[in-house]
Protein backbone atom coordinates (compact mmCIF):
# COMPACT_ATOMS: atom_id res chain seq x y z
CA UNK A 1 0.00 0.00 0.00
CA UNK A 2 1.51 3.29 -0.97
CA UNK A 3 0.39 6.60 0.27
CA UNK A 4 -1.95 8.26 -2.08
CA UNK A 5 -1.90 12.01 -1.90
CA UNK A 6 -5.53 12.20 -2.79
CA UNK A 7 -6.48 9.97 0.08
CA UNK A 8 -7.65 11.66 3.24
CA UNK A 9 -5.26 10.85 6.06
CA UNK A 10 -6.66 12.27 9.25
CA UNK A 11 -4.49 13.71 11.97
CA UNK A 12 -5.42 12.12 15.23
CA UNK A 13 -4.02 12.94 18.63
CA UNK A 14 -4.43 10.35 21.38
CA UNK A 15 -3.71 11.39 24.94
CA UNK A 16 -2.94 8.28 26.96
CA UNK A 17 -2.40 8.03 30.67
CA UNK A 18 0.93 6.52 31.59
CA UNK A 19 -0.39 3.76 33.82
CA UNK A 20 -3.18 2.12 31.94
CA UNK A 21 -3.78 3.31 28.42
CA UNK A 22 -0.19 3.98 27.40
CA UNK A 23 0.62 0.51 28.66
CA UNK A 24 -2.44 -0.78 26.81
CA UNK A 25 -1.05 0.81 23.66
CA UNK A 26 2.30 -0.84 24.37
CA UNK A 27 0.52 -4.15 24.72
CA UNK A 28 -1.30 -3.56 21.43
CA UNK A 29 2.16 -3.00 19.95
CA UNK A 30 3.82 -6.04 21.41
CA UNK A 31 0.78 -8.10 20.39
CA UNK A 32 1.11 -6.64 16.86
CA UNK A 33 -2.48 -5.44 16.88
CA UNK A 34 -2.46 -2.96 14.05
CA UNK A 35 -4.22 0.38 13.91
CA UNK A 36 -3.73 3.22 11.45
CA UNK A 37 -0.55 5.28 11.60
CA UNK A 38 -2.72 8.39 11.69
CA UNK A 39 -2.95 8.00 15.45
CA UNK A 40 -0.13 9.65 17.39
CA UNK A 41 0.05 9.15 21.10
CA UNK A 42 1.01 11.73 23.68
CA UNK A 43 1.88 10.34 27.07
CA UNK A 44 0.42 12.09 30.08
CA UNK A 45 0.63 10.92 33.69
CA UNK A 46 -3.13 10.72 34.07
CA UNK A 47 -6.25 11.49 32.07
CA UNK A 48 -6.84 14.32 34.52
CA UNK A 49 -3.69 16.02 33.22
CA UNK A 50 -5.41 16.73 29.93
CA UNK A 51 -6.48 20.32 29.78
CA UNK A 52 -9.33 21.23 27.43
CA UNK A 53 -6.87 23.77 26.07
CA UNK A 54 -4.75 20.92 24.74
CA UNK A 55 -7.67 19.49 22.85
CA UNK A 56 -8.69 22.79 21.33
CA UNK A 57 -5.07 23.48 20.57
CA UNK A 58 -4.87 20.24 18.63
CA UNK A 59 -7.91 21.20 16.62
CA UNK A 60 -6.52 24.65 16.10
CA UNK A 61 -3.36 23.16 14.68
CA UNK A 62 -5.24 20.93 12.31
CA UNK A 63 -6.13 17.73 14.13
CA UNK A 64 -9.17 15.92 12.78
CA UNK A 65 -9.87 13.98 15.92
CA UNK A 66 -8.73 13.90 19.53
CA UNK A 67 -9.15 10.91 21.80
CA UNK A 68 -8.37 10.68 25.47
CA UNK A 69 -7.69 7.31 27.06
CA UNK A 70 -7.37 6.63 30.76
CA UNK A 71 -7.71 3.93 33.36
CA UNK A 72 -11.16 2.53 33.92
CA UNK A 73 -13.16 4.47 36.50
CA UNK A 74 -12.23 3.02 39.86
CA UNK A 75 -8.83 1.89 38.64
CA UNK A 76 -7.06 5.24 38.35
CA UNK A 77 -3.46 5.03 39.46
CA UNK A 78 -4.07 8.24 41.36
CA UNK A 79 -7.44 7.01 42.64
CA UNK A 80 -9.62 9.80 41.37
CA UNK A 81 -8.02 11.45 38.36
CA UNK A 82 -10.20 9.88 35.73
CA UNK A 83 -13.34 10.88 37.58
CA UNK A 84 -12.39 14.52 37.17
CA UNK A 85 -11.35 13.91 33.59
CA UNK A 86 -14.71 12.32 32.93
CA UNK A 87 -16.62 15.38 34.10
CA UNK A 88 -14.33 17.81 32.34
CA UNK A 89 -14.47 16.00 29.05
CA UNK A 90 -18.22 15.47 29.24
CA UNK A 91 -18.74 19.20 29.60
CA UNK A 92 -16.17 20.10 26.98
CA UNK A 93 -17.55 17.65 24.42
CA UNK A 94 -21.04 18.88 25.11
CA UNK A 95 -19.87 22.42 24.48
CA UNK A 96 -18.17 21.49 21.23
CA UNK A 97 -21.36 19.79 20.16
CA UNK A 98 -23.25 22.93 21.16
CA UNK A 99 -21.16 25.17 18.95
CA UNK A 100 -21.69 22.84 16.04
CA UNK A 101 -18.55 20.74 15.98
CA UNK A 102 -19.37 17.14 15.04
CA UNK A 103 -19.30 15.27 18.31
CA UNK A 104 -17.62 12.20 16.82
CA UNK A 105 -14.34 14.06 16.63
CA UNK A 106 -13.73 13.80 20.33
CA UNK A 107 -13.88 10.67 22.37
CA UNK A 108 -12.94 9.29 25.77
CA UNK A 109 -12.22 5.63 26.20
CA UNK A 110 -11.10 3.74 29.30
CA UNK A 111 -8.39 1.26 28.39
CA UNK A 112 -6.51 -0.76 30.97
CA UNK A 113 -2.91 -1.94 30.71
CA UNK A 114 -4.23 -5.39 29.88
CA UNK A 115 -6.52 -4.24 27.10
CA UNK A 116 -4.24 -4.19 24.09
CA UNK A 117 -7.05 -5.55 21.99
CA UNK A 118 -9.42 -2.86 23.14
CA UNK A 119 -6.84 -0.17 22.48
CA UNK A 120 -6.33 -1.32 18.94
CA UNK A 121 -10.05 -1.77 18.34
CA UNK A 122 -10.80 1.64 19.76
CA UNK A 123 -8.23 3.32 17.56
CA UNK A 124 -9.46 1.48 14.48
CA UNK A 125 -13.01 2.51 15.24
CA UNK A 126 -12.05 6.08 15.97
CA UNK A 127 -10.03 6.46 12.78
CA UNK A 128 -12.91 4.96 10.85
CA UNK A 129 -15.27 7.44 12.48
CA UNK A 130 -13.00 10.35 11.59
CA UNK A 131 -12.81 9.02 8.06
CA UNK A 132 -16.57 9.03 7.89
CA UNK A 133 -16.65 12.61 9.18
CA UNK A 134 -13.95 13.64 6.76
CA UNK A 135 -11.61 16.55 7.07
CA UNK A 136 -12.12 18.76 10.04
CA UNK A 137 -13.83 21.47 8.04
CA UNK A 138 -15.84 22.94 10.83
CA UNK A 139 -12.99 23.51 13.18
CA UNK A 140 -10.82 24.08 10.15
CA UNK A 141 -13.20 26.85 9.16
CA UNK A 142 -12.41 28.56 12.35
CA UNK A 143 -8.85 28.77 11.34
CA UNK A 144 -7.56 31.50 9.20
CA UNK A 145 -6.46 30.15 5.89
CA UNK A 146 -5.54 33.32 4.09
Amino acid sequence: MSLNNEEFRPKIVAFCCNWCSYAGADLAGSSRLAYPADVKIIRVPCSCRVNPMFILRAFEKGADGVILCGCHPGDCHYSTGNYYARRRMTLLFSMLDYIGVENGRTRVEWVSAAEGVKFSQTMNEFVEKIHSLGKNVRLGDLRCRN
Partner: protein, 323 residues
Protein backbone atom coordinates in the same frame (compact mmCIF):
# COMPACT_ATOMS: atom_id res chain seq x y z
CA UNK B 1 -31.64 56.15 47.20
CA UNK B 2 -31.78 58.75 49.88
CA UNK B 3 -32.02 56.07 52.51
CA UNK B 4 -28.91 54.46 51.09
CA UNK B 5 -27.00 57.71 51.06
CA UNK B 6 -27.90 58.62 54.60
CA UNK B 7 -27.03 55.15 55.83
CA UNK B 8 -23.71 55.37 54.00
CA UNK B 9 -23.01 58.71 55.65
CA UNK B 10 -23.78 57.23 59.04
CA UNK B 11 -21.47 54.28 58.51
CA UNK B 12 -18.69 56.56 57.34
CA UNK B 13 -19.28 58.91 60.23
CA UNK B 14 -19.22 56.27 62.94
CA UNK B 15 -16.11 54.68 61.44
CA UNK B 16 -17.76 51.36 60.66
CA UNK B 17 -16.54 51.65 57.13
CA UNK B 18 -13.68 53.52 55.56
CA UNK B 19 -15.32 53.86 52.19
CA UNK B 20 -18.46 53.17 50.29
CA UNK B 21 -18.60 51.23 47.05
CA UNK B 22 -21.58 52.22 44.93
CA UNK B 23 -22.41 54.07 41.76
CA UNK B 24 -22.15 57.66 40.67
CA UNK B 25 -23.80 59.35 37.74
CA UNK B 26 -22.11 59.01 34.40
CA UNK B 27 -21.94 61.41 31.51
CA UNK B 28 -25.27 60.21 30.17
CA UNK B 29 -28.55 59.78 32.01
CA UNK B 30 -28.35 56.00 31.70
CA UNK B 31 -24.75 55.08 32.39
CA UNK B 32 -23.98 55.34 36.09
CA UNK B 33 -20.60 53.89 36.94
CA UNK B 34 -19.09 52.05 39.94
CA UNK B 35 -17.36 54.40 42.33
CA UNK B 36 -15.80 54.68 45.77
CA UNK B 37 -16.96 57.36 48.16
CA UNK B 38 -14.99 58.29 51.21
CA UNK B 39 -16.74 61.46 52.42
CA UNK B 40 -20.24 62.71 52.94
CA UNK B 41 -19.63 65.32 50.25
CA UNK B 42 -18.68 62.74 47.68
CA UNK B 43 -21.79 60.78 48.52
CA UNK B 44 -23.88 63.61 47.06
CA UNK B 45 -22.96 62.11 43.68
CA UNK B 46 -24.12 58.64 44.70
CA UNK B 47 -26.85 57.26 42.52
CA UNK B 48 -28.78 54.04 42.60
CA UNK B 49 -31.37 53.41 39.92
CA UNK B 50 -32.49 50.92 37.28
CA UNK B 51 -29.35 51.48 35.26
CA UNK B 52 -27.04 50.41 38.08
CA UNK B 53 -26.62 46.92 36.62
CA UNK B 54 -22.92 46.64 37.41
CA UNK B 55 -22.05 43.82 39.81
CA UNK B 56 -19.79 45.38 42.43
CA UNK B 57 -18.67 42.15 44.07
CA UNK B 58 -15.58 41.85 41.91
CA UNK B 59 -14.39 45.28 43.12
CA UNK B 60 -14.26 43.79 46.57
CA UNK B 61 -11.21 41.73 45.58
CA UNK B 62 -9.18 44.92 45.52
CA UNK B 63 -11.18 46.56 48.29
CA UNK B 64 -10.38 43.60 50.55
CA UNK B 65 -6.74 44.62 50.43
CA UNK B 66 -7.47 48.16 51.58
CA UNK B 67 -7.32 49.42 55.12
CA UNK B 68 -10.67 49.22 56.93
CA UNK B 69 -14.06 47.99 55.88
CA UNK B 70 -15.84 48.88 52.70
CA UNK B 71 -19.57 49.32 52.50
CA UNK B 72 -20.60 47.62 49.31
CA UNK B 73 -24.01 47.77 47.68
CA UNK B 74 -25.02 44.38 46.34
CA UNK B 75 -28.18 43.48 44.52
CA UNK B 76 -29.63 40.04 45.19
CA UNK B 77 -27.91 38.44 42.18
CA UNK B 78 -24.61 40.14 43.02
CA UNK B 79 -24.52 38.37 46.37
CA UNK B 80 -24.11 34.99 44.61
CA UNK B 81 -20.93 36.29 43.04
CA UNK B 82 -19.75 37.61 46.38
CA UNK B 83 -20.33 34.23 48.03
CA UNK B 84 -18.46 32.47 45.28
CA UNK B 85 -15.56 34.86 45.80
CA UNK B 86 -15.60 34.10 49.51
CA UNK B 87 -15.45 30.41 48.70
CA UNK B 88 -12.41 31.02 46.52
CA UNK B 89 -10.71 33.14 49.17
CA UNK B 90 -10.67 36.12 46.85
CA UNK B 91 -12.59 38.53 49.04
CA UNK B 92 -12.49 39.00 52.76
CA UNK B 93 -15.92 38.86 54.32
CA UNK B 94 -14.59 40.77 57.32
CA UNK B 95 -13.56 43.65 55.11
CA UNK B 96 -17.02 44.08 53.65
CA UNK B 97 -20.08 45.72 55.08
CA UNK B 98 -22.70 44.45 52.71
CA UNK B 99 -25.77 46.51 52.17
CA UNK B 100 -28.22 44.39 50.26
CA UNK B 101 -29.90 46.87 47.99
CA UNK B 102 -33.37 46.39 46.59
CA UNK B 103 -33.76 45.56 42.95
CA UNK B 104 -36.77 45.47 40.67
CA UNK B 105 -34.84 44.48 37.59
CA UNK B 106 -32.06 46.34 35.84
CA UNK B 107 -32.29 48.11 32.53
CA UNK B 108 -30.59 47.65 29.21
CA UNK B 109 -30.46 50.89 27.32
CA UNK B 110 -29.76 48.99 24.12
CA UNK B 111 -33.22 47.46 24.37
CA UNK B 112 -34.79 50.89 24.61
CA UNK B 113 -32.73 52.02 21.67
CA UNK B 114 -33.91 49.05 19.71
CA UNK B 115 -37.45 50.20 20.38
CA UNK B 116 -36.59 53.35 18.48
CA UNK B 117 -35.91 55.54 21.51
CA UNK B 118 -32.92 57.58 20.49
CA UNK B 119 -31.35 60.90 21.43
CA UNK B 120 -32.15 60.42 25.09
CA UNK B 121 -31.77 63.48 27.31
CA UNK B 122 -33.29 62.21 30.50
CA UNK B 123 -35.17 59.23 31.86
CA UNK B 124 -37.80 58.91 34.51
CA UNK B 125 -39.31 55.78 35.99
CA UNK B 126 -35.93 54.15 36.56
CA UNK B 127 -35.64 55.38 40.14
CA UNK B 128 -35.86 52.77 42.80
CA UNK B 129 -38.60 54.57 44.67
CA UNK B 130 -40.73 54.88 41.60
CA UNK B 131 -43.27 52.15 41.50
CA UNK B 132 -44.24 52.95 37.94
CA UNK B 133 -44.12 50.20 35.35
CA UNK B 134 -43.37 52.67 32.63
CA UNK B 135 -40.15 54.37 31.63
CA UNK B 136 -40.45 57.82 30.21
CA UNK B 137 -37.66 59.25 28.10
CA UNK B 138 -37.15 62.88 27.19
CA UNK B 139 -35.43 62.76 23.84
CA UNK B 140 -34.40 65.30 21.32
CA UNK B 141 -37.34 63.97 19.36
CA UNK B 142 -39.77 64.51 22.18
CA UNK B 143 -41.14 62.31 24.93
CA UNK B 144 -41.10 58.57 24.41
CA UNK B 145 -41.95 55.69 26.66
CA UNK B 146 -41.85 51.97 27.01
CA UNK B 147 -42.69 49.48 29.73
CA UNK B 148 -40.04 48.81 32.37
CA UNK B 149 -40.00 45.11 31.59
CA UNK B 150 -39.46 45.72 27.90
CA UNK B 151 -36.20 47.45 28.61
CA UNK B 152 -34.97 44.99 31.22
CA UNK B 153 -31.66 43.20 30.90
CA UNK B 154 -31.88 39.63 29.63
CA UNK B 155 -30.62 38.33 32.95
CA UNK B 156 -33.49 39.95 34.86
CA UNK B 157 -36.04 38.02 32.84
CA UNK B 158 -34.50 34.86 34.32
CA UNK B 159 -33.99 36.45 37.76
CA UNK B 160 -32.62 34.05 40.40
CA UNK B 161 -34.92 35.59 43.01
CA UNK B 162 -35.19 38.58 45.29
CA UNK B 163 -33.30 37.05 48.22
CA UNK B 164 -29.84 38.27 49.11
CA UNK B 165 -27.49 35.34 49.81
CA UNK B 166 -25.23 37.37 52.08
CA UNK B 167 -25.60 40.82 53.66
CA UNK B 168 -25.19 42.86 56.78
CA UNK B 169 -28.31 44.87 56.27
CA UNK B 170 -30.98 45.31 53.65
CA UNK B 171 -32.21 48.60 52.21
CA UNK B 172 -35.07 48.78 49.77
CA UNK B 173 -37.57 46.38 48.34
CA UNK B 174 -36.73 43.72 45.77
CA UNK B 175 -38.87 42.08 43.16
CA UNK B 176 -38.56 38.73 41.44
CA UNK B 177 -38.67 39.69 37.80
CA UNK B 178 -38.44 36.24 36.30
CA UNK B 179 -40.80 35.89 33.38
CA UNK B 180 -38.85 33.58 31.08
CA UNK B 181 -37.26 30.14 31.18
CA UNK B 182 -33.60 30.31 32.08
CA UNK B 183 -32.53 27.69 29.58
CA UNK B 184 -34.98 28.44 26.79
CA UNK B 185 -32.36 30.08 24.60
CA UNK B 186 -29.87 27.28 25.22
CA UNK B 187 -32.48 24.69 24.36
CA UNK B 188 -33.26 26.50 21.16
CA UNK B 189 -29.65 26.21 20.11
CA UNK B 190 -29.40 22.61 21.25
CA UNK B 191 -32.30 21.77 18.98
CA UNK B 192 -30.50 23.15 15.95
CA UNK B 193 -28.66 21.01 13.46
CA UNK B 194 -24.87 21.04 13.77
CA UNK B 195 -24.66 23.28 10.73
CA UNK B 196 -27.13 25.76 12.19
CA UNK B 197 -25.36 25.76 15.54
CA UNK B 198 -22.10 26.33 13.84
CA UNK B 199 -23.49 29.16 11.74
CA UNK B 200 -25.06 30.75 14.79
CA UNK B 201 -21.90 30.86 16.83
CA UNK B 202 -19.76 31.69 13.85
CA UNK B 203 -21.93 34.74 13.23
CA UNK B 204 -22.00 35.85 16.85
CA UNK B 205 -18.36 35.28 17.60
CA UNK B 206 -17.10 36.85 14.42
CA UNK B 207 -18.22 40.11 16.01
CA UNK B 208 -15.75 39.68 18.86
CA UNK B 209 -13.04 42.30 18.91
CA UNK B 210 -11.19 40.74 21.86
CA UNK B 211 -11.65 43.87 23.92
CA UNK B 212 -11.73 41.64 27.01
CA UNK B 213 -14.64 43.56 28.52
CA UNK B 214 -16.36 40.29 29.33
CA UNK B 215 -13.29 39.03 31.11
CA UNK B 216 -12.71 42.26 32.97
CA UNK B 217 -16.23 42.48 34.30
CA UNK B 218 -16.72 38.81 35.15
CA UNK B 219 -16.54 38.19 38.89
CA UNK B 220 -15.41 34.61 38.25
CA UNK B 221 -12.73 35.72 35.81
CA UNK B 222 -10.72 37.23 38.58
CA UNK B 223 -7.41 35.53 38.00
CA UNK B 224 -4.42 37.66 38.83
CA UNK B 225 -3.19 36.79 35.42
CA UNK B 226 -5.37 35.25 32.77
CA UNK B 227 -4.09 32.17 30.97
CA UNK B 228 -4.67 34.04 27.77
CA UNK B 229 -2.16 36.61 28.91
CA UNK B 230 0.43 34.18 30.13
CA UNK B 231 3.15 32.29 28.39
CA UNK B 232 2.24 29.12 30.21
CA UNK B 233 0.05 27.83 27.47
CA UNK B 234 1.86 29.45 24.66
CA UNK B 235 -1.33 31.41 24.22
CA UNK B 236 -0.15 34.84 25.27
CA UNK B 237 -2.37 37.66 24.20
CA UNK B 238 -1.51 38.79 20.78
CA UNK B 239 -3.42 40.19 17.86
CA UNK B 240 -6.06 37.77 16.73
CA UNK B 241 -4.31 35.62 14.26
CA UNK B 242 -7.34 33.65 13.35
CA UNK B 243 -10.96 33.32 14.17
CA UNK B 244 -10.34 30.02 15.90
CA UNK B 245 -8.87 31.91 18.75
CA UNK B 246 -12.10 33.70 19.48
CA UNK B 247 -13.94 30.50 19.76
CA UNK B 248 -11.17 28.97 21.78
CA UNK B 249 -11.11 32.04 24.00
CA UNK B 250 -14.81 32.00 24.69
CA UNK B 251 -15.09 28.22 25.06
CA UNK B 252 -12.14 28.10 27.42
CA UNK B 253 -13.24 31.19 29.29
CA UNK B 254 -16.61 29.59 29.85
CA UNK B 255 -14.92 26.33 30.83
CA UNK B 256 -12.72 28.09 33.34
CA UNK B 257 -15.73 29.61 35.04
CA UNK B 258 -17.90 26.49 34.67
CA UNK B 259 -19.21 25.48 38.05
CA UNK B 260 -18.18 28.88 39.40
CA UNK B 261 -20.22 31.15 37.17
CA UNK B 262 -23.30 32.39 39.01
CA UNK B 263 -24.97 33.38 35.76
CA UNK B 264 -24.87 37.08 36.69
CA UNK B 265 -24.98 38.00 33.03
CA UNK B 266 -22.43 40.79 33.27
CA UNK B 267 -20.49 39.41 30.29
CA UNK B 268 -23.42 39.91 27.96
CA UNK B 269 -24.30 43.25 29.54
CA UNK B 270 -20.94 44.79 28.89
CA UNK B 271 -20.14 43.29 25.51
CA UNK B 272 -19.85 46.26 23.18
CA UNK B 273 -20.66 43.99 20.25
CA UNK B 274 -23.79 42.58 21.87
CA UNK B 275 -22.61 38.97 21.74
CA UNK B 276 -24.87 36.82 23.92
CA UNK B 277 -21.92 35.43 25.86
CA UNK B 278 -24.11 34.13 28.66
CA UNK B 279 -25.18 31.39 26.27
CA UNK B 280 -21.84 29.68 26.80
CA UNK B 281 -21.99 29.85 30.57
CA UNK B 282 -25.58 28.86 30.70
CA UNK B 283 -24.95 25.82 28.54
CA UNK B 284 -22.42 24.60 31.10
CA UNK B 285 -24.85 25.35 33.91
CA UNK B 286 -27.60 23.46 32.16
CA UNK B 287 -25.34 20.46 31.52
CA UNK B 288 -24.14 20.49 35.11
CA UNK B 289 -27.68 20.63 36.43
CA UNK B 290 -28.81 17.82 34.18
CA UNK B 291 -25.82 15.54 34.54
CA UNK B 292 -24.59 16.14 38.06
CA UNK B 293 -27.59 17.56 39.87
CA UNK B 294 -28.85 21.09 40.39
CA UNK B 295 -26.08 23.44 41.36
CA UNK B 296 -26.13 27.17 41.84
CA UNK B 297 -22.71 28.70 42.26
CA UNK B 298 -22.62 31.21 45.07
CA UNK B 299 -25.69 29.87 46.86
CA UNK B 300 -23.32 28.97 49.68
CA UNK B 301 -19.66 29.26 50.58
CA UNK B 302 -18.82 25.67 51.48
CA UNK B 303 -20.09 23.15 48.93
CA UNK B 304 -17.77 21.59 46.38
CA UNK B 305 -18.17 22.88 42.87
CA UNK B 306 -19.28 20.38 40.25
CA UNK B 307 -15.89 20.31 38.53
CA UNK B 308 -13.99 19.66 41.72
CA UNK B 309 -16.33 16.85 42.58
CA UNK B 310 -17.49 13.56 41.11
CA UNK B 311 -19.54 10.49 41.80
CA UNK B 312 -18.46 6.97 40.97
CA UNK B 313 -21.30 6.53 38.55
CA UNK B 314 -21.14 9.81 36.67
CA UNK B 315 -22.22 9.56 33.06
CA UNK B 316 -19.59 8.88 30.43
CA UNK B 317 -18.62 11.61 27.95
CA UNK B 318 -20.28 9.55 25.25
CA UNK B 319 -23.58 10.77 26.66
CA UNK B 320 -23.05 13.80 24.44
CA UNK B 321 -23.58 11.66 21.37
CA UNK B 322 -26.50 9.87 22.91
CA UNK B 323 -28.62 12.83 23.83
Amino acid sequence: MQELISRAKELLADGTVARVLGWRAGDLPYNPEPAYFTTAEELENFVYNGFCGANLSKYMIEASKLEGKTMVCLKPCDTYSFNQLIKEHRVDREKAYIVGVGCKGKLDIEKAKKLGIKGIESVSGAEMTNAADTLTFQTIYGEKSCSYAEAMLERCHVCKGKEHMVYDELIGESKDTKDAERFAEVEKIEAMSPAEKFAFFQKELSKCIRCNACRNVCPACSCRKCVFDSTKFDSAQKANVDSFEEKMFHVIRAFHVAGRCTDCGECSRVCPQGIPLHLFNRKYIKDINELYGEYQAGADTESRGPLTNFTFDDCEPSIVTQR
